[in-house]
């Protein structure tokens, strides 16, 4: 008899069950968030308000009368929470997709310049007092140009995007350039009517989210999310060498373009609606990779859920912790940066 060899344990501890737990946790946090804010609503009142949801939604659509609880829950908090879920999910998933695509775990929508490019695009459109749809489109174009430029520089300077340092440096350069361009838009903006709007917008915030913003947000985010989810196993293969993926029968070029466009679009609509909310796209995929491993079949959905969970939680802190609301972009940076450094130190090589 052959002695049975004991299987060595995998380092990524969570599988499908973990995803379900994460999804349930996200739903619970999102529901509980309805009770958080300056206008205090206790659980009993929240429950009774939610019980009358159909009436309230009808009143909201038809312009009927709402009680103040209903107004706060359905008109202010619900779109905001759904927005936080979508934006957090979009940024987390886009980050995970970018990291796989560039074979580079240090990449994120911020570092590639996508956020800054989208911010510049949005700021330009705001300068022209364009409608929301144009702001989104302009943000997308700006984001795409920024990612494209970063990619080109990394190819021209290094041996391609898998060179961590070169890609990060190229991203820093492009990001700095677009931030300078953003400053230009601020400089030429009307200091009374336009400048405050652009400035607050770029700080990143969920406070002004309305149902029409959610409409803008949900179609591109969900469509791109579904496309990326559909390609999840192919993204694994694209994380290999070009020659290797070709030898596996996968012509990398076209799929890579689709993935980059989807991830950039998700980032750009998020930026167009909420401004630049940094760090989510870097920290969340890293954290999820520690929990679920690098296989995109689990990593992509986990990053979406994790990003959604994280941003809802951050938004609660942003509006509940201090008497005055803090822009959430400031909060995610203040919390994200040290958390990220801690993760790097704790897991040394394990962040792969």
């Amino acid at each position: 008899m052959v002695p049975k060899v004991r299987e060595k344990k995998s380092r990524a501890p969570f599988g499908r069950v973990g995803l379900i737990v994460l999804a349930v946790a996200t739903v619970i946090v999102a529901a509980a968030s309805l009770a958080v804010g300056r206008f205090s609503i206790d659980i009993g009142l929240l429950a009774s308000t939610l019980a009358h949801a159909p009436d309230a939604v009808f009143a909201l659509v038809s312009g009927g009368d709402l009680t103040s609880e209903e107004l706060v829950v359905f008109k202010m908090r619900l779109p905001r929470i759904i927005g936080a879920l979508l934006v957090g999910g979009a940024l987390g998933m886009a980050g995970a997709a970018f990291q796989g695509m560039f074979r580079n775990p240090m990449v994120s929508p911020d570092l590639l310049g996508a956020s800054a490019g989208a911010g510049f695009g949005a700021a330009c459109a705001m300068l022209a007092a364009a409608p929301v749809a144009v702001i989104s489109g302009s943000a997308f174009v700006g984001g795409l140009i920024a990612v494209f430029l970063t990619y080109l520089i990394s190819i021209a300077v290094g041996k391609g995007p898998s060179n961590v340092i070169v890609l990060v440096l190229a991203g820093v350069v492009i990001k700095a350039m677009f931030e300078a361009l953003i400053s230009v838009t601020k400089y030429v903006a009307d200091p009374y009517s336009q400048l405050p709007g652009i400035t607050f917008f770029l700080m990143g915030g969920l406070s002004s989210l309305t149902w029409s913003d959610i409409g803008m947000l949900c179609v591109p985010v969900l469509v791109c999310g579904i496309v990326l989810y559909g390609l999840r196993w192919r993204i694994n293969i694209l994380s290999l060498d070009d020659d290797e993926s070709r030898a596996l029968g996968v012509e990398a070029g076209r799929i890579r373009v689709v993935v980059i466009v989807c991830a950039t679009l998700m980032t750009a609509v998020s930026v167009a609606v909420t401004g630049i909310i940094g760090w989510v796209g870097l920290v969340i995929p890293h954290f999820m990779r520690m929990l679920f491993g690098p296989d995109s079949r689990r990593l992509l959905p986990a990053s979406f859920l994790g990003g959604a969970f994280y941003l809802v939680l951050m938004d609660n802190i942003a509006r509940g912790l201090f008497p005055m609301e803090i822009p959430i972009g400031i909060l995610t940076a203040l919390i994200g940066a040290p958390v990220f450094v801690t993760l790097l130190i704790k897991y040394k090589g394990g962040w792969k």
Binding site: S239, L248, G293
Partner: protein, 269 residues
Amino acid sequence: MALVVDDVSCGYGGRPVLEHVGFQLEPGSVTAILGPNGVGKTTLFKAALGFLPLETGSVTIDGGKIADMSRSEIARAIAYVPQIQNIPFAYTVEEAVLMGRAPHLKLLQQPGPEDRRIAREALETMGIARLAKKTCTEVSGGELQMVSIARALAQQPRYLVMDEPTASLDFGNQIHVLERVIELTEGGIGVLMTTHDPEQAFSLKSDVVLLQRGRACRCGYYRDVLTEEALAETYGVDVLIRPIPYGGKSIECCMALIKETGHRHRESR
């Protein structure tokens, strides 16, 4: 039935590397590509995999021209085992091997139970089933080479192209990999491999493509091609080939000689 490289010339950006190279790889046999650094070994197998446009000639697999086949069609026939596995993320061994199923799946399709079974089998064939749940960053170099080969096997190819499968492996692991190569050919797979060690062609009793400087090329059975003179000419060093009696048989041994410089009289110590 064969992988036929016929009169192939190719190069990079107008600079010719190979000119009129031809050989044939039968299923169940090994062909070793030998030659000094930079002579075009890698170029030759990239051409065989259909990665490079050809200036002359053609590559055919079992009668079908590679140029007319889709990427995934080629990948179902020929698998590639790269030299250094540069996996940027810590996939588990199982996940890495499962990737070999890609040419059999449609764009949006996920690997199913059947694919997992085939990946399992490939792991068992390579003797690394116990590593399945380990990550690729945790296993040793020799084990990682086995993972690469297992991934290629999961493609269920008829031919394997291996880029220096024994490079950067220790003395023992080199032989273990060659043993696996022999097992694979016994299973009917044709193996094309590059190597820096002519000795391996002797051990495998394989066909040989010997690429020489000035774009010359000799092909044939190792015994006909790998003579002391041909190897000396190719690598620019003196080479000895001697039979060594072992267990009633005779094994050929091939070694390069280090020139006496007058400073090397260690024996007198």
